[in-house]
């Protein structure tokens, strides 16, 4: 299976963050059109070259190149020790990563679908996220868990979920969530370089998105959002597939004379409160857009925080756009009912704009 929807609209976010200290860019980066999948593949390739302690692990990632082709051709280049196929054992895959990371390896796991993270939830939450803290800093867990998330392709209830909400209340874990090929590369390289455990979310509807991707060792600092589009009246905070949707909705809002700023979070935990709050203060009207169910989702956290810190500057309440509070049905028209779309964001932008006149 492959992701159905391609998203050509994903404008590459300005990546202001510097390359990581140990990795100065070799030469002025030259950009070219690359798919999200290729960007990830290229990042893995570069990192495998740089870090001898890195290895890839997961189901069908070697010869087959992964269910979405992200690890394609890496077996041929790096061999079966470092590009390691596993049985269908998600707990053991992540456990292996934690153990290896504790002794200084830099494993990158692929969990085929994010929906399967329930199988290794304990390993992520009680092990990866805690070994650094509970053992008083004596261990680190520099591992990355890449996984394909999100709906919109008729995948049904166990192949379509947005899972960041499962982990938002878990201290110690980092969640990266790129919206375009350049960030996919930059965040993946930063995640691999990071000594914190990173859950790396790849929205399936973005795999075929194309954009300009800087060549060479291009990193996007974890925990830093990007202003994907500047605007003065309304702020939309989004991530992953919601970013191209927000950009389209923002373009539509131009016609109504509403100037919309779009913040691409890029890392959803820990998120970049500074950038989000600065924009909220500037516009006084905020929309937070997420694909996951509303209740207890990322939108709740962002909304709470924005109100907490910018209450006096807000012209009206933060407006949440989310999936409905349901599992994800198989049938495509039903799925469309429950997932948020461009129109929902556009409507929210208008509502936030009007909400100014409370």
């Amino acid at each position: 299976m492959t992701a159905e929807t391609t998203t050509e609209t994903a404008a590459p976010a300005p990546t202001a963050s510097p390359a990581s200290a140990e990795a100065p860019p070799k030469k002025p980066a030259k950009a070219r059109k690359t798919s999200f999948t290729q960007a990830l593949n290229g990042a893995l390739d570069l990192a495998m070259e740089r870090y001898p302690e890195m290895f890839l692990i997961g189901e069908d990632i070697a010869e087959m190149g992964g269910d979405f082709g992200v690890t394609r051709k890496l077996l041929a280049k790096y061999g079966p020790e470092r590009v390691r196929d596993t049985p269908l054992s998600e707990a053991a895959i992540v456990g292996t990563c934690v153990g290896a990371a504790m002794v200084g390896m830099r494993p990158v796991a692929e969990i085929m679908f994010a929906d399967f993270l329930g199988e290794c939830y304990d390993q992520i939450v009680n092990n990866a996220a805690k070994v650094h803290y509970m053992f008083d800093g004596q261990f680190t867990a520099p591992l990355v868990i890449r996984t394909a998330c999100g709906g919109g392709f008729g995948g049904g209830p166990h192949h379509s979920q947005s899972v960041e909400g499962w982990f938002l209340n878990v201290p110690g874990i980092v969640i990266a969530a790129p919206s375009n090929p350049a960030d996919a590369k930059g965040l993946l390289l930063a995640s691999i370089a990071s000594d914190d455990p990173v859950l790396f979310l790849e929205h399936k509807a973005l795999y075929r998105a194309r954009g300009e991707v800087p060549e060479g060792w291009h990193t996007v600092e974890l925990g830093k959002a990007a202003v994907a589009r500047a605007g003065a009246d309304v702020t939309v905070v989004a991530s992953m597939r919601m970013v191209p949707m927000a950009l389209a909705a923002a373009a539509a809002a131009d016609d109504d004379g509403i100037s919309t700023e779009v913040i691409d979070l890029r890392t959803v935990k820990p998120y970049d409160a500074e950038t989000v709050l600065a924009s909220a203060r500037k516009t006084g009207r905020v929309v937070v857009a997420n694909e996951a169910p509303r209740t207890g989702g990322l939108g709740a956290e962002l909304s709470a925080r924005i109100h907490e810190e910018c209450f006096a500057e807000l012209a009206g309440p933060v407006v949440r756009v989310d999936g409905l509070d349901t599992p994800i049905p198989f049938s495509v028209p039903l799925e469309q009912e429950i997932l948020p779309g461009e129109d929902d964001i556009a409507a929210a932008i208008r509502a936030a704009y009007r909400g100014g006149a409370r």
Binding site: M1, T2, E59, D60, A62, E63, M64, G65, D67, D85, T86, P87, L88, S89, E90, A91, A92, D115, F116, G118, E119, F153, G154, G155, G156, P157, H158, H159, L324, D325, T326, P327, P329, F330, S331, V332, P333, L334, E335, E337, I338, D344
Partner: protein, 325 residues
């Protein structure tokens, strides 16, 4: 096995093959959403299981079980076309299109639905079996699990608990040699799954899952054993799936040739039937009849309406409504 029984199984196998081939065609034409895993090549396993599972039993199908789902639906409720409609995501599907290929269920025919987090139902099946045991019902709870799915930790938890509680569980392990691209002997300590199952102290058996006569007989014996209250059984049914991975065929040519030409369950059954004097014409007639039946099901699925949009928010909870947009 008498000839009428074998003829019936032959028919069932053709129903499955026609179903999967029709579905494959429709999928390629873009009429079926989502993902597609077919049971082509594994018809004997499914027909043998379907032959012994009653509507009051419970089976947890795996992701290649459209065939057994359709047989159960057809035999026990007379509306196999609702399995097809489910795969098209239509209102007439067994789950009104909410489940699809990986979550088609109908408890009225004993179909408890796949869990697309493969293998989670190795745990669920325990509860169904336990309930039957507590109620004194002579029921069989069957988990159909691929060789790859056996990698999951629930394999151990499930077999262990079925053993200590002596539950009426049939583990039907469909060993088709691969988990997506991983050969069974590379993914597991042993290429013979029974080796890992034997430690739990109940009967384990390995058999040729493409020989419908053998499969029917051994499944029958296991089901009878379980139904009589004698505890769990583990069957490893060796078979092979036509479907490779989406990159195409990756398996050795000789292997492909063996399974598709020399050890195909339908061809094997046809040989046996002909040896017993059933005519080639009659066999062709069965195939044609099944293909026609399935085309009717496909037409039904296509002509069926999309689900009522209200279904999208229905049945999240029993006790609460969920807000619509």
């Amino acid at each position: 096995m008498d000839t009428p029984t074998l003829r019936g199984l032959y028919r069932d196998m053709w129903l499955i093959r026609a179903f999967e081939q029709g579905l494959e065609r429709e999928f390629e034409q873009g009429n079926v959403p989502g993902m597609l895993h077919t049971g082509l090549g594994q018809e004997a396993v499914q027909a043998a299981l379907a032959a012994h599972l009653e509507a009051d039993d419970a089976f947890f199908p795996d992701h290649r079980c459209h065939g057994i789902n359709a047989l159960a639906q057809q035999r026990h409720a007379g509306d196999g076309e609702r399995i097809m409609a489910e795969l098209f995501g239509k209102a007439t599907g067994v789950c009104s299109g909410k489940g699809g290929s990986l979550h088609s269920a109908d408890p009225a025919v004993g179909n408890f639905g796949d869990n697309a987090v493969e293998g989670s139902y190795m745990a669920t099946v325990l509860g169904v079996a336990l309930a039957a045991k507590m109620r004194g019902e002579p029921k069989v709870a069957c988990a159909i699990i691929g060789d790859g799915t056996v990698g999951r930790g629930e394999f151990h938890e499930s077999l262990n608990m079925a053993a200590i509680w002596d539950l009426p569980v049939l583990y039907a392990c469909v060993n088709n040699g691969y988990a997506i691209s991983m050969p069974v002997g590379e993914g597991h300590a042993s290429a013979n799954i029974v080796d890992m199952a034997r430690g739990y102290g109940f009967g384990c058996e390995q058999l040729d899952g493409n020989d419908v006569v053998e499969a029917h007989e051994r499944v029958g014996a296991a089901v009878a054993h379980i139904r009589a209250g004698n505890g769990p059984r583990f069957l490893e049914l060796k078979t092979w799936r036509w479907q490779g991975v989406f990159a195409g065929e990756f398996r050795p040519e000789a292997e492909v040739k063996y399974w598709r030409e020399e050890h195909d369950p339908i061809l094997m059954a046809a040989d046996e039937l002909q040896a017993r004097g059933v005519s080639g014409d009659e066999l062709e007639g069965i195939e044609a009849e099944m293909r026609e039946l399935i085309e009717g099901w496909i037409d039904f699925a296509k002509a069926s309406p999309a689900p009522d949009p209200a279904k999208a928010t229905a049945d999240v909870y029993v006790g609460w409504e969920v807000a619509r947009r």
